[in-house]
Subunit: 277 residues, 4 copies
Amino acid sequence: MEKKTLLTECPDNMGLISKITNICHKHQLNIINNKEYVDNAKNHFFMRTELEGYFNDETLLADLDRALPTGSKRRIISSERKKVVIMVTKEAHCLGDILVKTFDGSLDIEIAAVVGNYDKLQNLTEKFDVPFHHVSHEGLTREQHETQLLAAVQQYSPNYVVLAKYMRILTPNFVAQFPHKIINIHHSFLPAFIGAKPYQQAFDRGVKIIGATAHFVTNDLDEGQIITQNVIPVDHTFSAEEMAKSGRDVEKSVLSKALGLVVDDRVFVHGNRTVIL
Amino acid sequence: MEKKTLLTECPDNMGLISKITNICHKHQLNIINNKEYVDNAKNHFFMRTELEGYFNDETLLADLDRALPTGSKRRIISSERKKVVIMVTKEAHCLGDILVKTFDGSLDIEIAAVVGNYDKLQNLTEKFDVPFHHVSHEGLTREQHETQLLAAVQQYSPNYVVLAKYMRILTPNFVAQFPHKIINIHHSFLPAFIGAKPYQQAFDRGVKIIGATAHFVTNDLDEGQIITQNVIPVDHTFSAEEMAKSGRDVEKSVLSKALGLVVDDRVFVHGNRTVIL
Amino acid sequence: MEKKTLLTECPDNMGLISKITNICHKHQLNIINNKEYVDNAKNHFFMRTELEGYFNDETLLADLDRALPTGSKRRIISSERKKVVIMVTKEAHCLGDILVKTFDGSLDIEIAAVVGNYDKLQNLTEKFDVPFHHVSHEGLTREQHETQLLAAVQQYSPNYVVLAKYMRILTPNFVAQFPHKIINIHHSFLPAFIGAKPYQQAFDRGVKIIGATAHFVTNDLDEGQIITQNVIPVDHTFSAEEMAKSGRDVEKSVLSKALGLVVDDRVFVHGNRTVIL
Amino acid sequence: MEKKTLLTECPDNMGLISKITNICHKHQLNIINNKEYVDNAKNHFFMRTELEGYFNDETLLADLDRALPTGSKRRIISSERKKVVIMVTKEAHCLGDILVKTFDGSLDIEIAAVVGNYDKLQNLTEKFDVPFHHVSHEGLTREQHETQLLAAVQQYSPNYVVLAKYMRILTPNFVAQFPHKIINIHHSFLPAFIGAKPYQQAFDRGVKIIGATAHFVTNDLDEGQIITQNVIPVDHTFSAEEMAKSGRDVEKSVLSKALGLVVDDRVFVHGNRTVIL
């Protein structure tokens, strides 16, 4: 007996749930968990089905294709652990949280490598027996640097790339290699405070709550699909530096949570939004 | 075209979702919204299905009964507004919130009447053209008082009874008239601080967070199934009175939220827990 | 014996707390509560002192003026209830919350009047024996309308004006009459989603948290000093309308909380930020 | 120039703030930050004053003693980093968080050693070059085990002992060695779910929110003074195991936050409550 996850996405139609579950039923697959969502405004159907049994992926997909409307997407995902490459600059908290959570089993991933444009986190990374690649941007054009980055990342053929406070903007060329596969943590409650120095912006605006946002990376800076967000209260006694310090805990928990959802195959990208089942 | 909600609950079995949705499909009913949950530990299945179409309740139920396993419960609930009687003592905030939310349409209920053991909230109630019954407990035995209360409440044949800071304990006899139909707000984060004066208890214990709990009323004091809870932070500067004052906002929002879920037919009682779909 | 509040604000200096408390001490005034804050970056000192005793305001202020540095502001505020005029359009929840909280004593204010550009909330207002002025904007230029609004509001000489979902922009001329005296609720977590239809904007951006912001009104739209903010989680199942519905509870509690802080003389305006003591 | 913190605690009296700040002023010490609190019910005064300047601790204390009422406690604390010993059993998340936060400077402490009754976390500990002592309880009486634990801990003369999911109860003898110096994390929102298996208890009770509590350890199980608490929402889909998994993030952030407050000399113990300035 195996466990797999079936992800289905298609134009909405009467009877879709019964069609899909009928097919699973016919294949003697037990539905352990099922969630579906219909975007009524866009008439679009999403379903995530955790199945258990003896799978014949080919005939299952063929049966689904016969039953589902044109324009459907469906994938059967094995329960294999996902491979992740983490990109960092100098700040340790997000990387540290992912390393410790992977170490203690809270995050069920394989950290293939960490790639940093500084070497400051090499020591921390190697404590956990994860290879660290220092790819300095100094003296290089953006293109040269990204060529090296890309080589460092792609040698691991990762399922996902995580920007754990990687503080440089990636070019469309880099992003295009990993469509909906790069997860970034932005240290503000997007769409407030897009761009550089969000805590300073938050301080200047006098907000009473700060936050963090994990999102997929697209070519528009800080405009990718939001996966998770969280916030904490602040008050007038916080300097921009103290906001940044307090914000670290939110950043790391938001990023780890988003990563957990993504590697658990719970996140559908739907236009500029995410559907999380 | 009508809208109705189908609630199904039964021992879990392979293919239940497909069986139920097939039947709806066959009846030409469109599924607007569907949520299900399986308690794997207890092997129990719950499903809430919002349907739209032309209903023949009798044949639909008959079809379901043929398809579902023994021990199933299923109900088709019309989208008619629920009738609610509210019981109060002296505090205005929960009653006020329900009155205003019903007035502005946020709560889709009919407040049939308010029954108070003091007359302090008569004035507020009548501002909203709702009948108020003053049923004083003074000079009466508990049994005599409850007989009068029961008469006052039952004349309206309410779907639900809401204890909006009604500060007297109800006897098993009263509770038995409204099984899983009485919703209470307890001014603590249950099961902490059961019983009287929870804010004083919270103060004495030095907690840093206080809360409120909306639950169904059973015969065990503050032990009924929890529907919703929420909390707010406090600190050493709060006296017990200030906790009580700050707690009012949580109490009222928790109670109103629970009431909204209940009248929307989203709450299943499952042993001493609730399943909310 | 009386209770009063002393608010002091001045360039920071060594020994300010001891100077001010010495003077209170000398005047035989007991300090019930004292909070101070120093903005070290801007070298500015703020202090709020709740005093009890027999006051001679004139000599107390004279003593303070002798002791404090040039550029100091200090005010002695009696514990008299503040007079508030509320401006509304059509939505009942914020107004309803303020009316009920004032009715039950949670908000210690006098609601002098409600002014609406529609008459939809007249009925609700008058339930609480508060005068309602309907000042329609139809057929009037903005200037004509504001002249009438201003007359309606100013006849009550309010301490504060509350925009409880008043959905029209006020001109600089109106705002200038009430510097730091107008409190608005914006239905987003500012500075995200400035301007019109913030819930639609939030939906379109796919955020996972929505919020509300109470702020002073200045001449820049939604740019006034923030007093309080709060948020609630949402997910992909929320339409823009459902966000708006869920947001109402946050809006009303944020506005009522801000109003409570302001009428309690806890809010200092400090550049484009607030200091809350 | 040095920075130190003055902690004062005494029966309340008119003029205390001015007396203390006068003395600091006289000693040419600049007040960077000052917070005080009066428990009016118990007539008790607390003050925390961050000072900067050239200190003569002896004469400063002598001056304070002359000025303060009988029964006062006052301490001048240097800004030296505190030494901490961490006790663990098998769970990595709290220890991991403290290690990473100390590594990246978010927690300004020296981790002198980790002591575990299992050796499971030795590997993690030594990654960060911190000595690990395995003090197994197997085959030992409770007294014998604690004698060994005590020896392992006391050789480091720690300022604080942190129980980072140390899952055995400490005897009064052990606790007596470290009065108000042992900080524990309890994996529930105390006082709900005291004792063993709180997540199972929470599941059985059907709560909708779970939490964690950091508190000082006294001789009454889970009854010590609460320092910080936090919560997260759960719903019917959570098994007890999933609650435990989700709870880890709260546990670790609550414990790290409490530890940060304690080593920053912000926490006064006041009967069975804490005052945090």
